[in-house]
Symmetry: C2
Subunit: 104 residues, 2 copies
């Protein structure tokens, strides 16, 4: 079923909210909630490991930042990440279309 689409739902969301600029983990959770109109409220235990995974895969890069005494790790898309975002979004669309056809 080529189910990286399924498995990668969180991944594509993370890549997508970073498309307009960098953000740290906690903020990424908020962005996903906002941009999905409240539908996706990702647990931190889901997001942090996913971010490491994406960084290990070369799709994200990060740096440490300190703001108001609080440490943050700020993530941004790499070139590969941007490419992957496009690919995964297309995959999502194909998947979505197929589900639509099957469930019609």
């Amino acid at each position: 079923m080529q189910s990286e689409v399924l498995k990668g739902s969180v991944d594509v969301l993370l890549l997508s909210v970073l498309r307009t600029g960098e953000a740290h983990g906690y903020r990424i959770v908020e962005l996903v909630r906002e941009q999905s109109e409240g539908a996706f409220d990702l647990a931190e235990g889901t997001v942090y490991p996913a971010l490491y995974r994406l960084e290990r895969a070369g799709e994200l890069a990060s740096r440490w930042e300190t703001v108001g005494g609080r440490r943050r790790r700020v993530y941004r898309l790499t070139r590969r990440g941007r490419r992957e975002l496009v690919r995964r979004r297309r995959e999502w669309e194909a998947y979505s279309r197929a589900m639509g056809a099957a469930l019609a």
Copy 2:
């Protein structure tokens, strides 16, 4: 993320292709392929366990049949299965809408 939606993608496909009548496992694989316009080619190792799971959950019922010397197990939706199909389809739609919003 309420990810039964994700996890249940195969389940809702199986329920859906049975909405117009009963079918056996091998045929169900074909129906999913046809109705998804070729996009979903489920492995038998995915489908059979899923059918057992759905039967154990009371969403499907089955009977044995012999046609041309070949044994088949024919599945049909139960009332609960039909209800679940409606519920899962709605869930899929909400999920799909949210993904659409987030990836827009």
